[in-house]
Amino acid sequence: MLRSQRPLLILATTGLVALVATGCSPSADPADNSSNITLTFWGSYGNGGNSAQQEVLTNDLIPSFEADHPGVTVEYVDIPYDDLLQKLTTSAAGDALPDLVRADLGWVPRFADLGVLVPLSETMDDFDVLADAVYDGSLATNLYDGSYYGLPLNTNTRVLISNPEALDAAGMSAPPATFEEVVAMAEALEGSGIQVFADGGLGAWNISPWLWSGGGDIANDDLTASSGVLDSDENVATVQMLVDLFQAGQISNGITGNEGAVSTSEGLPSATYATILDGPWMQGIWADQFPEFEPVYSAVPAGPGGSVSVVGGENIVLTTASEHQDAALDFIRFTQTPEFQLALVATGQLTIIEDLGDEQVALVPGLALFTEQLSTAKNRLAITGGAEVDTILSTELTPAFEGTISVKEALTRAAEQIDAVLARG
């Protein structure tokens, strides 16, 4: 008996000893101000297996910064994008945030509202200089309650990407450039088994380019009301066009949230879909997984409002938890330099510095179109309730697509709910 129990006893004792050992190991003392400051920087540069960006960051850029700032070490922690928000939220609650975060645009108002971000416009003497250098649209995503809580780090936008095979099947030599051409293409593709368009949902990121190009918007300029704006005639016409295409089977039901539909990243190269709206990161992904595919990039189809796309990207923010704000601010300045920006351009990220636009195109010619689209691109609502707005749009517009209610009614209902979100600030 004892024989058989001894292993358990040994195991448990070892466990206790190990537990005590790991728990009590002294951590490196960071409070030594004279030398060795460590800045922690959280981000999602890892991007799944597509780690080119993270490698540039950790192998080239951070060492370069550290060389110029002796005594400062930057520790980058990669976190899967889908989980970064939860981790940030929990860490905020537990007062354990890192110094710097590469934050999604929509998160800045939210965390600024929580009071965990440092208002850079008030803390940095050279803020105005840095702010002038970046795109207005990108800068605006950092604005909350009169102050700027971050600086843009990189930007991106959506453009129309087409499959050349599908263009041939529709008898077109160039991608559709206007709403009318999209509809015409759909008709030409009848019976070919190819759907003219696909998207992954009906949130702001998905539907805004259509609404804005159609001449409408989601809310008014001072963000006080959505009713009267979202349910405008222009928007009704735009959404009706999409609904008609959907009903004709020309838009995949991934747009209404069917997770089982072929994803856009796989459907376009395989010619299941003729066109999608997507960003510059797809280039790297397709080169890896569908090397024979040659996508055709063009501007968002223009409607009565022109060809207007949506601004995406990430900002860099400084948290109030940071004990080394000066060093952290230096790193932020570093991210705004041509060295930093252009190094990442080579990996498929768009720079936020206006003047670097030409160099960017010289480095990666494929980015010319994105740069151009960015000049007219607009922002989604910079409010704390951004996620709710997305859900409201998806939930209310889905029945319109399925034909159970009219487009006008769906937009009106959505607008009412968005009013409530806007009222909360």
């Binding site: 905020a92 929580l114 009071g115 039901n253 949230g257 069917n258 997770e259 089982g260 539909a261 998806s394």
Partner: protein
């Protein structure tokens, strides 16, 4: 002196019992209430439990009464029962509740029946026993994240399930949009739940079947009892505790379903396949409305607790707690 010989559990037990009966002196009163001893046995575990589970639970419970602000420096507004009232008036809450209940019924019953059936089949001597055990246990062992993504892939419009049903079996047209609709979505999610859980209940039943007195089974056979009667009279009472355990655990697990729904449908489309925990997660971590999220979690806990107590009482009543 009780001597326990190396060998199987059942043999040991039999020998120990026999030897105990030989040497027994009548003095039964002594050990039932052991003074301080039981408390000493419980102390380490219960202490850890109270500090790391109960205390946070109380805090989470507190959160539900406020419009809770994440960062401590901001004052949270006291709402009283407002979050709870809101839940009852929230149609999405009710949709989520119904979906959760549907999931429970659809997954618990098959897991128990199939798990028990497989355990019975594997309990009989079979040369490939270990191999079968591994095969049935594999789904349990694979990570939820990976199998949820895998099943989303399998149930995709162009996926294997449609291919099998349509092209191979000819049962359907092969183009069911499983994840696009509420009930087909629930079928897909439940299929994953059942597939992943059978091995788990099988394991418990296998362990419990060790305690079925073989002698009784053989005696019953000699007496002319058929398979069902043998099962009902001999086997079932012997595995009753395990059955209670499995049922309670599976129901709790059903109430707590999260990752599979989150990754397969995201609760969509338009919240139609939302279950209670995914809804709670959305409210707490995407909308940062932790007060409301906590309220939903508290309601869920209360329901689960009530269910479990009722179940335990139902099971206990039939065969009693103290062994003869």
């Amino acid at each position: 002196m009780t001597t326990l010989v190396d060998g199987s559990t059942a043999t040991r037990r039999a020998e120990a019992l026999a030897s105990a009966r030989r040497g027994r002196v009548l003095n039964p009163k002594k050990s039932r209430s052991g003074g301080l001893t039981p408390y000493l046995f419980i102390a380490p575990g219960f202490l850890i439990f109270v500090v790391t589970i109960i205390y946070p639970t109380v805090q989470a419970f507190q959160m539900s009464f406020f419009d809770w602000k994440i960062v401590g420096s901001q004052a949270s507004e006291f709402l009283g029962l407002d979050n709870y009232v809101r839940a009852f008036e929230d149609p999405q809450f009710w949709v989520s509740s119904v979906n959760t209940l549907v999931y429970i019924v659809a997954t618990v019953v098959p897991q128990i029946i199939i798990g028990l059936a497989v355990a019975l089949l594997l309990h009989m001597k079979s040369p490939a026993q270990t191999l079968f055990r591994i095969l049935y246990y594999l789904p349990v062992v694979t990570s939820w994240v990976v199998v949820s993504l895998l099943f989303r892939f399998l149930f995709a419009d162009a996926g294997v399930i449609n291919f099998t049903l349509g092209d191979i079996l000819g049962v359907t047209d092969g183009d069911t949009a499983w994840l696009a609709d509420r009930w087909t979505g629930m079928i897909a999610i439940s299929a994953l739940g059942i597939w992943k859980g059978i091995g788990w209940s099988m394991m418990i039943f296998l362990a419990a079947l060790q305690g079925v007195p073989r002698g009784l089974v053989e005696a019953a056979t000699v007496d002319g009892a058929n398979a069902w009667q043998r099962f009902r009279v001999v086997t079932l009472p012997a595995i009753w505790a395990a059955l209670a355990f499995v049922t309670v655990m599976l129901v709790i697990g059903g109430f707590n379903v999260f990752i599979s729904v989150y990754l397969m449908t995201g609760g969509g489309p338009a919240g139609r396949t939302q279950v209670l925990l995914t809804y709670m997660y959305q409210q707490a971590f995407e909308y940062l409305d932790l007060g409301y999220g906590s309220a939903i979690a508290v309601l869920l806990t209360i329901v689960v607790f009530a269910f479990s107590v009722l179940q335990l009482r139902a099971f206990r009543g039939r065969y009693g707690e103290d062994s003869p």
